[in-house]
């Protein structure tokens, strides 16, 4: 039976380790996740549809997905610049900066949330100048959601682009320069196409993370229904009102969106491996 599933090997421990893996995966991840789908299956299609398309819920999708897209786009531009500067140039403190780029991965989201809120509040270090100079309110508005999502998404772009940039072959650029291309032409025609798969992967990773983000956003968003309420918060609100079915229905919509994104990310990574077989 086992031999039909796997190729023969002299190494021991296949049954034990695969057994532990499958049991643990099922107990911790698969069975609880399936509970969300089974719970939702108790709803009729009409009931489900009316829960997940209620105006307040739809407004939250627009904010969550819109702000996540915008944050990922901002991070793609600045993340590319940061990766470029870290790989190509030298300046004092570069290694420290390089290490700190991962801060959003390591800093708990609640800490990031209160720090960003205090900074961008109307009386905060940054917020007071934005208010004074441009009349811009960031904290407690959808703009605050965007700021929090830019914070948590930044390392995804930098860390996917950086290794590709490091492996870039200098010969191609030299050849292009010898043939008379300007630096800008070399960037747009030679470097950028090579980086594109990594940029798209980083974009998708940052977007996927941002859509589900909760901790850093709830503090800064202000959480006004229809205006600055993100979808994960809708789930929490419904749970606090003991509306388990409603919370689960919205969760299923988000889960399906995340699974589609996960497939897309896997495809992008497969695609970029095919483009750069050396890696």
């Amino acid at each position: 039976m086992k031999h039909s599933l796997r190729q023969h090997s002299v190494l021991p421990g296949f049954g034990l380790t695969l057994g532990i893996t499958l049991v643990y995966l099922s107990v911790i991840v698969l069975i609880p996740l399936s509970a969300a789908f089974i719970k939702t299956a108790a709803l009729s299609w009409v009931q489900f549809w009316s829960v997940v398309t209620a105006p307040r819920v739809v407004a939250s999708y627009k904010l969550s997905f819109g702000a996540s897209l915008l944050a990922a786009a901002i991070n793609t531009v600045f993340g590319l610049i940061v990766a470029w500067v870290l790989v190509r140039y030298s300046f004092p403190g570069k290694r420290l900066v390089d290490a700190l780029v991962d801060l959003p991965f390591a800093l708990p989201t609640a800490v990031a949330g209160i720090a960003l809120t205090a900074l961008y509040a109307p009386n905060g270090w940054i917020g007071q100048y934005l208010q004074e100079w441009w009349g811009l309110k960031v904290a407690y508005t959808p703009l605050g959601v965007l700021v929090a999502l830019v914070f948590i998404g930044l390392p995804f772009i930098v860390r996917t682009v950086q290794p590709v940039l490091e492996d870039l072959e200098g010969e191609l650029e030299e050849a292009a320069a010898t043939l008379g291309a300007s630096r800008w032409q070399i960037f747009t025609r030679v470097i950028f196409p090579t980086l594109l798969p990594a940029l798209l992967t980083g974009f998708a990773l940052a977007f996927a993370r941002a859509v589900g983000e909760y901790g850093s956003v709830v503090f800064i968003a202000g959480n006004m229904p229809m205006i600055s309420e993100i979808t994960p918060l809708i789930i929490i609100t419904k749970l606090e009102q003991y509306d388990y079915t409603g919370a689960t229905a919205v969760a299923v919509v988000m889960l399906v969106a995340s699974f589609v994104l996960l497939l897309l990310i896997n495809f992008l990574q497969w695609f970029s491996r095919k483009r750069n077989p050396a890696k």
């Binding site: 599933l5 190729q7 090997s9 002299v10 190494l11 421990g13 296949f14 380790t17 695969l18 532990i20 893996t21 643990y24 995966l25 911790i28 991840v29 069975i31 609880p32 996740l33 509970a35 969300a36 600045f78 610049i81 500067v85 870290l86 290490a99 991962d102 801060l103 390591a106 708990p108 989201t109 609640a110 800490v111 949330g113 209160i114 960003l116 205090a118 900074l119 270090w125 830019v150 930044l154 200098g170 010969e171 650029e173 030299e174 996927a208 589900g212 983000e213 909760y214 901790g215 503090f219 994960p232 789930i235 929490i236 749970l239 388990y244 988000m254 889960l255 995340s258 994104l261 996960l262």
Partner: protein
């Protein structure tokens, strides 16, 4: 081409210098562009990373050291610290054992459905933390599958410590496994097969042959797993019930203090987690450096 570079550098140092000078000319932007890009990158990082980090410590020390230490030794803060350490202390070792088992099965054997299994292991990273909490409420909550049965036997999981531990395990599930799988796949099975053929048993092979090769990757996965376990907010928030002194972890304590407008205390607890983040980044950088050195030694 890589070989070509190495060869030139070792045998003929002089031409290699002129070559690299020529390359620099072709690969570098004008000084003004370089300075501008560095300015933009550092400005962006300053605004979005460094200033927020600094503001945590500034907020914590706003009322001086005395208020800072008072906020940390406060009994509710202290019990939150202990609960956070307990949750991470259970979640990290369990995910460590799982990560080793999964990586052994996936990297050392060929079987059908392997890529599906790898995707499923990564799944918790693409699930919103709030949903991670919700699914355990659906399974163990009073309205859930096992809720009534657990209630009869007076076992509390949701709004109690076991729920917090479960939610923490879920959100940190892939860290060790996803670090080890590619590493062990790259190392292949030759050394282990040789050890087995020479008469070592499975455990000896693992301890003496495999573990020394993966130790840095393993450590790397563990510190990232630990940072997330101690800092998790969304998933734990759903299952905790927010009882101060009983089911409050450090991130949840920060939220309560902040919502009570007790900003100094909130930032004081936050500063502990920020220090944890900085230690994590420092260890991570150190491990990356050690691993690079190990590879260099192995090649030499």
């Amino acid at each position: 081409m890589m070989w070509d570079d190495v060869g030139t550098a070792q045998a003929l140092p002089a031409p290699s210098i002129s070559k690299s000078a020529a390359r620099r000319g072709a690969r570098e932007e004008p000084v003004l562009v370089r300075a501008g890009l560095i300015f933009i990158a550092l400005g962006f990082l300053l605004l979005f990373l460094f200033v927020p980090l600094a503001s945590v410590f500034a907020g914590a020390l706003r009322k001086g050291w005395e208020a800072y230490f008072a906020a940390i030794v406060e009994p509710d803060a202290w019990s939150a610290i202990k609960l956070t350490l307990l949750a991470a202390g259970i979640a990290v070792p369990l995910n460590l054992v799982f990560g080793l088992a999964a990586a052994w099965a996936i990297a050392k054997f060929e079987f059908r459905g392997k890529s599906l299994l790898i995707t499923l292991i990564d799944l918790p990273f693409s699930v919103s933390p709030v949903i991670a909490g919700l699914i355990y409420v659906l399974v163990f909550g009073l309205q859930g599958w096992f809720g009534p049965c657990l209630y009869v036997h007076d076992i509390r999981i949701i709004f109690a410590v076991p729920g917090i531990v479960l939610a923490t395990i879920f959100v940190t599930f892939p860290f060790v496994a996803r670090e080890l799988i590619p590493l062990m796949q790259a190392q292949g099975t030759d050394e282990e097969e040789a050890a087995i053929v020479l008469g070592a048993n499975g455990w000896q092979t693992f301890w003496r042959v495999t573990l020394p090769d993966i130790k840095w990757g393993l450590f790397y996965g563990v510190i990232l797993c630990n940072a997330r376990a101690m800092g998790e907010f969304g998933a734990v928030s759903v299952v905790s019930g927010h009882v101060r002194g009983l089911t409050n972890t450090m991130p949840l304590d920060i939220e309560i203090l902040y919502n009570e407008y007790n900003f100094t205390a909130a930032f004081a607890v936050a500063s502990l987690l920020a220090m944890l983040a900085l230690v994590t980044l420092a260890l991570k950088t150190l491990v990356e450096w050690l691993a690079r050195n190990q590879i260099r030694r192995d090649l030499a």
